[in-house]
Symmetry: D2
Subunit: 335 residues, 4 copies
């Protein structure tokens, strides 16, 4: 069949990465056009990838030679672009988080459903081979009923403060991936959240009202309990581990290393570092994510639906409420 | 110097193990006498070890050829025996937990302090080479300031229901080891506890008011946050892992396997099981524990003081209160 | 600077892979043209990559918009194409083995040297991060003097018999990579070879005079001893491990797994498979190989010289002589 | 049943270890008496273990309260003591190597067979859980037909030169364990040996005619090929790995570490050392060895027969001949 022609909206770090993957490595896909709020950024990327750049999102949304859009712009613009895509009848990939408030999310969902467009939300970690291995064990019944999930998810360094300020804070920006993961692994909705945290790395993070260290405990409908720990600064690299424990066994993903090798001397063993950050660790997951998008365009159901995009935001908002009120918060208190 | 002559009080599973280790494997120690509430049990063990058995604890406490006692009897008898040892001027090893209520513990501590006896509490995991490796990294400053501790501590199968009923429940019986460990690893007291749990393995456990699955989050004085997950039934064996994360790195203990080997076939890799339970996993830690006891008898400070025995009980009681009241509980609410 | 424009000669499995990497993923390189003895193969690949195809190698060798050629055609054509590149003044990448006899190799080397073209031989494993980690430990002196090297190098399944027949046999086709590796790791020339082998997988392999299982012991100038074991059929995947042992320690590369994850059940631990073959394992090494080629084109010395291409062939020929005469063979008996 | 009463002949490092294990840790066994050529050594050990010491081996061999003897004296005395045990009708455990020449070994075997005593030879590594795991996989058919075995067997430091001088050299003293292992793993006799080696660690080792670094390739009756590498000085500890590769898969033992833990910092991962030497690594194997001896005394067949003791010596002698004559040597050239 013909390649899926994708227009990329937003050419920042993540948008640029998506555009490059689509243009060069995703089978049966091509980067049909790119747009960025900074025209030169889009123009330079377009030239590099041998595609065209658009002066406005509408130009891409209306183009006949564009089958779908990848919404990779800043979070506050996601929903408006999604609604514009719905209006234009273009299928869409949307980066996480969908938005930082539920009203916006629900507007977007309503529009997408009314228009009948296919939408995939950008929770790439579901496509990481190691995390997926854990989920596959659960799905295959090899672990029996899941009782406990534990995730350590730690970034190598905090983002710029300016970014933090608009990010929705640690729970809606960073932990949101882990909230998605516990739903993905257990296949069960979260019913209650207890969150606690601290500012241990950089006081400036506290001054903008955010946390840099956090622990979250979630209770699921099926009785399972998930724990997540986050840090904005793991000096040893990007630490991403997911574990499921059930009545018949456990499965856990481990960090890949930058090389699979070891040295032994009189001082003990030494092994290489972890990947530095998501670009070093998760490229295979992004590729698989786009492979799934192409399948969705060919008729398969969305692998990460708008409902999957909404649920972790609700958990994130509940986590913030839990921290503020210093108590466990029921999901149905949020909406 | 002369061997330390130890009288063992209580010859159940753990008392028997201690007596055997003292008699056969602990350098510079000997099993001077054994006592059990069931005389035949003590007699059989005495014969097996080539030592004598006593008809009553007092017989051992008053014996001139006994330097110290190992209190390995059921929990409700620990404090009375500790007080009797104090009265007799015998140094003591006491199994955990010291008691299930603080009034008893405090009586025991007062008596021991008044008598000036040396006492070591039986938190053996502090002596496990792998957990100790983690603590040593913290002590050496290699991890910087500790921000997060996470422990998975899972038994292979629940104890008999009858035992559970008098055990103090999961937090005072099982998690108490982990509460000790987070104090040991961080070197910082716990100030607040949030605990949650479920009955997912055996309804009968719930019927006696206990939990079989639990997650506990503790906040420390120094700002660190510890998370513990427990299960009474890990079908793959005794799962005991401790991890410390700090500003300069992380350190983690992993389970040893019953053999260090691997098979690879077309289906992937297969490796051996975990040790079944504490007798299979922790014998080296018990031996080191007794080595430390001998050092204490030779004048070194207690490696696990009565204060170290009291603190985890307070955390355990706070954890129960947290579950009952479904909120985080400050340690100073307990005592 | 301007991208290096590379013409690819030969579009079989390995040539196609190189062309795709050059066209899509190698920074500062582009696939200027492709040629294959089967015109349709070249045409299809050219279309896919958005480049042109040539009707004859000469067309590429003479093209002004081609800076260098990648010689990926069948082994018997390598030297003639290298000589043609030399005559045309084009720098060259040549796949291994250079040829199956030394006279041809020496003709090629003489021509390349006379023309002063830059040449890199395709020993990609030198660029694998894990094997390179081992070499870097040696280079940094962390292992002291190297005493022993051991390599296990096992393919997942034998090549087609027709291919085997013209391959130079296991030592010149497969082990040649390992002969290169022991030179790379030790930095020392081989002086003597003892080789033994068997036909344990497929009798048809024996019928064409080849072996499917082999062990080779090489002595180096500096006294180190290397051992290599090969199998044409590791049913568990592509097994590629290199270990250096020295007076101050050891370093070893381990196989990466297809996912870094583990399952534990009552039966023990289960982990994912190895990568299936070189396309699954070694893409990062091929990319790094091309990165090094671009650097060579920018003036850096060749990372894998023609002398590096010749030496392993000599060792391979000595290995065959060793098997035939059932004795250790000195390298200087070959040439 | 009654404990097996064992008299220990020879109280050097290995004899002392055996005596202690028998006295304290081997179920259903006791150390009935000890003897050493240095009477004070025997007396001190006897007192420590609460047993008696004998003035001469005969005293033990004739004692009615001794069921079997453990021959742990220097190698040159093994056969005479075995013959004396045979004459006395005592079953025997004999340390490796049986002797350094085949005539002696054959005298011993003839005497033992004539007397009908049960004999177990001290190849303890067969009882190591990790190496046994590999053998069990072969036995269970999980690896199919074995094609390749590879062993790395490296000591932490050379023995005293005086010891070396009478040891039979590296092949009969150290590699003999590995020769036993390849027979144990494959279940197939060795038919040919090629050995090579060097003096890279200490010239004094070369001056007594020995090697400190060696590689040995053995061909088996069933077509399998085994490779062994040895070093007398692995500065990182006692390195003991065995791997079997077959038509259906592979299995490998890995070194246990002194703690199962890891540290990660910005510099990469750090893990603990290997066990220092055999006393740190192989105690569990010695215990299992004695468990098997007790079973033999209860009627089970010998787990390591005199034939199993003879075969590796033959391979060792062939290895020396191979080094001297610089060629592969058939086992039937030795005897």
């Amino acid at each position: 069949m013909n390649p899926v022609r994708i227009g990329v909206l937003g050419c920042g770090r993540i948008g640029r990465m998506h555009a490059e993957l689509i243009a060069k490595q995703v089978p049966n896909a091509e980067a049909a056009a790119v747009y960025d709020v900074v025209p030169d950024t889009a123009a330079a990327l377009a030239e590099e990838l041998g595609t065209r750049h658009a002066a406005a999102p509408e130009e891409i949304l209306k183009a006949e030679d564009v089958d779908a859009v990848a919404i990779c712009s800043p979070t506050p613009t996601h929903i408006d672009l999604l609604m514009a895509a719905a209006e234009a009848g273009k299928d869409a990939f949307v980066e996480k988080p969908l938005a930082l408030n539920l009203a916006d999310v629900d507007r977007g969902i309503a529009a997408a459903e009314a228009a009948g467009i296919a939408v995939q939300v950008g929770f790439n970690r579901r496509f990481d081979p190691s995390h997926r291995y854990v989920r596959d064990r659960v799905d295959a019944g090899e672990l029996g009923d899941v009782h406990l999930v534990r995730i350590s998810s730690r970034d190598p360094e905090p983002p710029p403060l300016m970014y933090l300020d608009e990010s929705g804070g640690i729970f809606c920006d960073m932990t949101i991936h882990d909230f998605d993961m516990i739903r993905f692994i257990t296949g069960s909705e979260v019913t209650e959240v207890y969150a606690t945290g601290a500012v241990l790395i950089d006081e400036a993070i506290g001054e903008v009202g955010d946390l840099d260290t956090a622990v979250i405990v979630c209770t699921h409908e099926n009785g399972a309990i998930s724990t997540i720990d986050n840090s904005r600064q793991a000096v040893y690299g990007y630490d991403q581990r997911v574990e499921a424990f059930g009545s018949a066994g456990m499965a856990a993903s481990e960090n890949p290393l930058t090389a699979t090798a070891v040295t032994r001397t009189a001082d003990g063993a030494h092994a290489p570092t972890l990947p530095y950050f998501f670009l070093e660790r998760y490229i295979p997951s992004y590729l698989a994510e786009w492979g799934a998008f192409v399948e969705m365009m060919e008729g398969a159901p969305s692998p990460v639906t708008l409902a999957d995009g909404r649920a972790p935001l609700v958990i994130g908002l509940a986590a913030w409420k839990s921290v503020r009120e210093h108590r466990p918060v029921r999901i149905d208190e949020i909406g």
